[in-house]
């Protein structure tokens, strides 16, 4: 997935799994993302919900480190939706 994915393209994605990490402090959302990623097949997309604004950069760095595709972030009501595709 290109890094230039548009917001409308993100909005059109239906995640295979939603991980609700709202209210969790660092490293909670990252650990929940790790667990969630382990439950979906390669190619699937997970969506992490987080009320911690640092989560998107944390998940972005983690995705780059472990080899998943960070797709982008959508702003919701009081939280953010971080989308990642499992790559391996």
């Amino acid at each position: 997935m290109p890094a230039t994915i548009t917001e409308s393209e993100l909005e059109a994605i239906t995640a295979d799994k939603v991980v609700d990490a709202r209210g969790a402090a660092c490293p909670g959302p990252l650990l929940e993302a790790k667990k969630g990623m382990g439950t979906v097949p390669v190619g699937a997309i997970i969506e992490i919900w987080s009320s911690d604004p640092v989560t998107k950069s944390d998940i972005g760095a983690w995705s780059a480190k472990v080899g998943h595709a960070f797709l982008g972030v959508l702003v919701a009501d009081g939280y953010e939706r971080v989308l990642v595709r499992r790559q391996k």
Partner: protein
Amino acid sequence: MADTQKLVFMVLHGPDHPEHATIPFVMGCAALASDIEVVLGFQADGVELVRVGVADGIQAPGFPPFAKLLRDFRELGGSLLVCAPCMNSRGITAADLIEGTEIVAAGRFVAEITSATNSLVY
């Protein structure tokens, strides 16, 4: 592990310093989630952190409960090494430690640190 990277965090602060006690577990969990091997080495007052019953009383503001981080760290496969002389000087025995800890001495710490990608002291 997906690669051969390893981080060693030396933990020297005990329950009286909740933030210093908690941050190495935060870092350790994040590293384990990133497929990096992690060793936490407990020395000085840090050995108090792995005594049975101590974790539940530690809460650093802004961080998850220490007990949850300790549980996550173990579930993710991190190693917990405890300094034997530091235990002895505090009257701590093997029976006082939580499950999953390993009592070691300086030689083991040196081996872990010299074989690590990087080491940090908290």
